[in-house]
């Protein structure tokens, strides 16, 4: 199995709120620090990926992070324009207005059109080889299958036409496990774990795209061993006379909170591990206490991913 870091196209997905952008940014940064020319692309254009690198507004044209990846934001209209110009040699400069509304209509009417422009652009960049690796901050679990299956869906629905002739090479790229991989991000909580198990299964049964790994974000270190936890409980229960000052409330709250969170989290990691196919890498990414976002956090994620993936 080709290691996650050797693939040229990585789709990073996961349930909303699990930090897939953080992981995608960390992966892109890590690959860039290893001397690769990396393109990081945000699919849903919310600006979170740009925030992970502390860039301002990032559009369809990639912006370089010094010492890091190039960052771009997907724009299906710009992708359509590029596609028409480069692939079909239809010049549309200055006439995108009516075409865009036509396109909006077709995109609404024909499922998969919007998706194929996203996936098409990414595959195009893989084929052009201007970058060594492309890390995609992809759509969330509910939508990512639509992207991964778009070329096949178009292939099934559209029998002839230029779009049809374009899907074959995309499928070649997507379905090649040495080139393309999906990274599913979860947090050690009920819903993200359940969605991750479902998604990994759905990708494996409904597509030919390879799942390269699962990252469990915001995992917590074990606070106490079993015996120490009993000691903690005893002290916490019998605080009067020993530590009865109110100022210690916060300390005990924190330790209780940390223990409870860690216990629940560990249960979910166990469930996830048991449900995933054998041999699929499961990477634990620790909770970041000091910084929640920005370059510092991205860098920390890259460092710990490096430790886990090497």
């Amino acid at each position: 199995m080709t290691s996650l870091l050797e693939r040229r196209l990585l789709f990073v997905t996961g349930k909303g709120g699990v930090g897939k952008t953080t992981i995608a940014a960390g992966l892109a940064w890590l690959l860039a620090t290893r001397g690769k020319r990396v393109l990081a692309c945000e699919v849903d254009a919310k600006g979170d990926l740009a925030a992970a690198f502390e860039l301002g507004n990032v559009g369809f044209d990639p912006v370089e992070v010094p010492g890091g990846p190039f960052v771009m934001s997907m724009d299906t209209e710009a992708s359509l324009r590029e596609y028409l110009r480069l692939q079909l040699r239809i010049p549309v400069i200055g006439r995108i207005g009516p075409l865009a509304s036509a396109f909006d209509f077709v995109a609404a009417a024909a499922p998969g059109v919007r998706e194929i422009l996203t996936v098409g652009k990414l595959c195009y960049e893989v084929r052009e080889r201007r970058y060594d690796a492309i890390v995609v901050d992809a759509a969330a679990t509910g939508h990512v299958l639509g992207h991964l299956t778009a070329p096949q869906a178009i292939n099934d629905l559209v029998k002839v036409g230029l779009i049809r002739s374009q899907t074959d090479w995309m499928l070649d790229i997507l379905n090649d496990a040495t080139t393309t991989g999906v990274v599913v991000v979860a947090t050690p909580e009920e819903m993200p774990v359940a969605e991750t198990i479902e998604l990994v299964d759905a990708i494996r049964t409904t597509t030919h795209v390879d799942v390269a790994g699962v990252v469990v974000n915001r995992t917590l270190p074990e606070l106490f061993g079993v015996r120490d936890e009993a000691v903690f409980t005893a002290i916490a229960a019998a605080r009067p006379g020993v530590l009865d000052e109110a100022r210690f409330d916060g300390v005990f709250d924190a330790a209780r909170h940390a223990t409870a969170r860690r216990r629940i989290a560990a249960e979910h990691v166990t469930i996830l591990r048991a449900a995933l196919p054998e041999g699929l890498p499961l990477v634990l990414q620790p909770y970041l206490f000091t910084r929640a976002e920005g370059r510092r956090a991205t860098r920390q994620v890259a460092t710990s991913l490096a430790g886990e993936l090497s």
Binding site: H143, K159, E189, E190, R247, G250
Partner: protein, 387 residues
């Protein structure tokens, strides 16, 4: 109407509460807790409409495998977890596929048209695979339930969307879609070869890209849909009206972390620009407030420094091993230091958001995940006591 000063006032005075916000912040749980609060503090019939509940929560609410039906959580079950119901608590789940099929059957002019649409591969693709269509159907179902007049309050958990606002614009988009000139251009030739000049460039390009056969498939599909134009547009307008009705209010849910808050903030602004009422901003899963106190960090440092001394006393009193007690206290102190950093960051974020909504409610993270009726009841207590 001015926004109410507490969640209790909100459930007493509104008929529809829409819980919305970024993914993964506990929207479904908050929606269920608001419904629980209403059922335990008002004499009304309350319904919570969930979109995609976690399995444990679905089990707890009795929703597993019931499709689109409404189920009541009976008083005995509620009493079993210590709830004292004053009204009735009902739950429903949104079955996307079935709701779409029902909608088509309702609006189709005749049975053959309905059958033709339901069996069209494009229709199945749209309803089955592409989540964007879910936004509309959730609002549509809300309208349907509200129109029955059976409920005093409906609490809705909004669907996970690419963009948290998609569902707000869904009715308008649906209407726009059906009235679009493009749809008419596309359908025109099939209606008797009246292909207008204006349609030509589009058709030519589309034809080159997509192929004639596919265009014909689309055309046929939308020609069938066109027959339902009137009904669809009328409903879409009714749904839009319902969202801006004074009996409807939005509850924005987030967690006090940077990314969800940024999204919640954006959402609040968009709601305001559409003149929808924001009833409350709920900051869910906040760390215990004691953690953010400066005294806690001082105490943690003192505990770490004096761990051995304290442990000697503790070990004597409690018959513990001094070494183990020292280790435990030092670990607890270091956990407190780590989490107090997070707690202070949360506190700063809460302060920033304090005036973002007329009512900002902080809900502490409970020990453990909320996945059963006890948890829902506990959360409803927190929501009910928030001023």
């Amino acid at each position: 109407m001015t926004a109410p000063s507490s969640v209790r006032r909100l459930v007493e005075t509104r008929e529809i509460l829409l819980c919305c916000g970024p993914g993964g912040v506990g929207k479904t749980t908050i929606a269920a807790s608001i419904a629980m609060l209403a059922a335990t503090t008002t004499p009304g019939r309350v319904l919570v409409l969930t979109i995609d509940p976690a399995k444990r929560l679905a089990d707890a609410l009795g929703l597993e495998g019931i499709g689109n039906d409404v189920v009541r959580i009976d008083d005995e079950t509620l009493a079993g977890v210590g709830a004292v119901p004053r009204g009735e608590l009902h739950c429903a789940m949104l079955d996307m596929k079935r709701s779409w099929d029902d909608l088509i059957r309702r609006h189709a002019p005749d049975a053959p048209t309905a059958r033709r649409i339901l069996s069209n591969p494009l229709y199945q693709n749209i309803t089955g695979r592409f989540v964007q269509s879910h936004d509309y159907i959730a609002m549509e179902r809300l309208h349907e339930l509200h129109a029955t007049g059976e409920w005093d309050l409906i609490v809705v958990d909004t669907p996970p969307t690419r963009n948290a606002l998609d569902f707000l614009d869904a009715p308008a988009r649906m209407e726009e879609f059906f009235s679009s000139r493009l749809l008419r251009w596309l359908i025109a030739p099939a209606r008797g070869g009246l292909l207008g000049l204006a349609a030509r460039p589009f058709t030519q390009i589309a034809d080159r890209i997509l192929g004639t056969q596919f265009l014909e498939d689309i055309t046929e599909f939308f020609l069938s849909l066109q027959s339902m134009y009137g009904g669809f547009v009328e409903r879409a307008r009714a749904v839009s009206r319902l969202l801006s009705d004074e009996r409807t209010s939005f509850v924005v849910v987030a967690t006090p972390e940077p990314t969800p808050l940024r999204e919640a903030d954006f959402f609040l602004k968009e709601l305001a620009s559409r003149r929808y009422e924001v009833g409350a901003l709920v900051l869910n899963r906040a760390l215990p407030s004691s953690l953010a106190l400066p005294a806690t960090e001082v105490a943690a440092e003192a505990m770490a420094a004096d761990a051995e001394e304290i442990s000697k006393v503790a070990a004597r009193e409690l018959d513990l091993d001094v070494e183990a007690a020292t280790r435990v206290l030092r670990t607890a102190a270091s956990a407190a230091r780590e989490w107090s950093v997070v707690a202070r960051r949360e506190a700063a974020a809460r302060e920033r958001m304090a005036s973002a909504a007329p009512l900002v409610v902080t809900v502490p993270s409970l020990d453990g995940e909320v996945g059963d009726l006890e948890g829902i009841l506990a959360l409803s207590g927190v929501l009910g006591s928030a001023a």
